[in-house]
Amino acid sequence: MIRAEGLRRTFKAGKETIEAVRDVTFGVATGELLALLGPNGAGKSTTLRMLTTLLPATAGSVRIAGFDAAREPGRVRELIGYVGQKNASGENHRIRDELVTQGRCHGLSNGKARRRADEVLEILGIGDLAARTPSTLSGGQRRRVDIALGLVHNPRVLFLDEPTTGLDPHSRAALWDRIQLLRRDHGITVLMTTHYLDEADLVAERIVIVDRGRVIADGTADALKAELAGDRMHITASDTGAARTAAGLADRMPGVSEVTAEGRTVHVRIADADAALPAYLRLLDRAALTVTRAGVRRPSLDDVFINLTGRRLEESGDAYATATMTTATTTDEPIGAPHA
């Protein structure tokens, strides 16, 4: 449904040329929910703006449902809905009026636009806000209005740029419920950007990790974790000597990629740690080594990012307050790559 091929975008800032996007290639299948994950300034928003015809690519090409975004932007615009980072409803306008306007911008007749406005208000559960202006709404409500605006014309593809930034955990969960419902009922393809690891992990079927304008990984969360980080198990032995012996034994196990001994503790990176740990413990028992503690840790997407870049994702990029699904922020600052 979406195909980005060798996308590149440079900006001029004074005499300097900034390479916001260097080389981005990926595809999204029909009905899929894909997350573009990366630190602030990685080029996610710039990529999205190229995919949605808002920004011409310096090089490379974009195809949406077979239409080339540079040659047939009109056809592409008919098929896509876009929810940008900023709130999209005008301050002096009533929510329903804005939805009708948006429908008319997409070529719907007046009557059709009104019907669709009421439908999307219903779908997003904001029918009671129809006559209000945005300034009287909460952050979560405004975000729902933005998504409603992106859905008025029944798009086949929905682009969401940081859809949940600035929302509290409850609003976030509610918003995702709505989006998942839409996918189930209408089979729309969703491409979203996020810098929240947990969000990508929880909702996305596939993740494309972007860093410094390049795609550095592409796959399901499980596949990325297994291939690029691997499970971890750890044991604590009775003394450092025993730990060293235990580390030596771990080295010979199948599927091991990394063993480190730290004092009395041994860390092992190994495939399928749930199954490997009991085997390891039997091995240690046979060698008459006493183990006081043992555990398994599934890798996070942060581990994946660290493995790929040597940096933590949430510490990279701009100095912007990071938040995970469990921390609430109330700010709604523009972030990411240069934008209008």
């Binding site: 001029k12 615009r77 306007t101 948006q102 933005d146 240069p338 209008a340």
Partner: protein
């Protein structure tokens, strides 16, 4: 209905609907010209000065000037509105739809034209009890001339708004710097002829001067005055230049600031 007309109507009705919901805003935004009309105008009429009014009275000389003043400031609202929507997410939201780029400017310009027409009617009506004798066809012709100018200025203010991204400082600097000198140098409040020769020379390169002269002739019903032709040419030129530049700017507007 052709696509462009439809799109312009969509933008126009979006822009006009908040105004219709609270029409008092239309009166509030004409506060300054109203003050000038009632306070300054009354004093000017009281001096009994000979303002070169030709056939008409002092009010017939002064009111068209105030109408021009209003049509200089009013069109800034299009650019102002556009600037805040460019900085917010609203303009992006429109640009990602198939709507014609041109209509995003034309719809706003049309809304300015309509509100200014309503305001001009109102202002003229206020002047009647103050002592102005009304030449109705003349007054209406004046308004048509001024609307043509306002469309040009409205479009130019959109161009300025697009050029002022993302901060918008440029928009305010340019408009604040231009509006007052243009007002003074077009003889809106007092005749330019009353000043020294250099002032008249500067006024002669100000297109608004010609529009003011034309408005005064029309307002008094002097349709065949040559200044009417000059004013019409100046107003049309403003409109053509404004619409040309704004259409061009709008087509490039999806690109962020500093795009290569």
């Amino acid at each position: 209905m052709p696509r462009l007309v439809r799109d312009v109507a969509t933008v126009f009705s979006r822009e006009i609907s908040p105004e219709l919901r609270s029409p008092v805003g239309i009166v509030l935004t004409m506060g300054q010209p109203l003050l000038f009309l009632v306070l300054f105008g009354s004093m000017l009429a009281g001096t009994g000065a000979n303002l070169g009014a030709g056939t008409g009275d002092v009010w017939q000389w002064f009111v068209p000037g105030i109408l021009v003043m209003m049509c200089l400031m009013g069109p800034l609202s299009a650019g102002h509105g556009m600037l805040s929507e460019l900085n917010g997410g609203q303009m992006e939201r429109f640009l990602v739809t198939p709507i014609s780029r041109t209509s995003l400017v034309l719809g706003r310009t049309a809304k300015d034209a309509v509100t200014l027409f309503a305001q001009a009617l109102l202002l003229t009506a206020v002047a009647i009890p103050l002592g102005m004798s009304l030449h109705l066809p003349g007054a209406l012709a004046t308004m048509v001339l001024l609307i043509v100018m306002a469309i040009g200025l409205s479009a130019l203010s959109c161009v300025l708004a697009i050029a002022s991204r993302p901060g918008g400082n440029l928009f305010w600097m340019v408009t604040q710097m231009l509006i007052f000198p243009i007002t003074m140098l077009s003889g809106i409040l007092l005749p330019v002829g009353a000043g020294p020769g250099w002032l008249s020379a500067v006024a002669a390169i100000n297109p608004v001067t010609y529009i003011v002269d034309a408005a005064r002739a029309l307002f008094a019903g002097d349709f065949l005055n040559t200044s009417v032709l000059h004013g019409l040419i100046a107003a049309t030129a403003l409109a053509v230049i404004g619409l040309f530049l704004s259409t061009r700017a709008m087509k490039r507007c999806g690109r962020p600031v500093g795009s290569a």
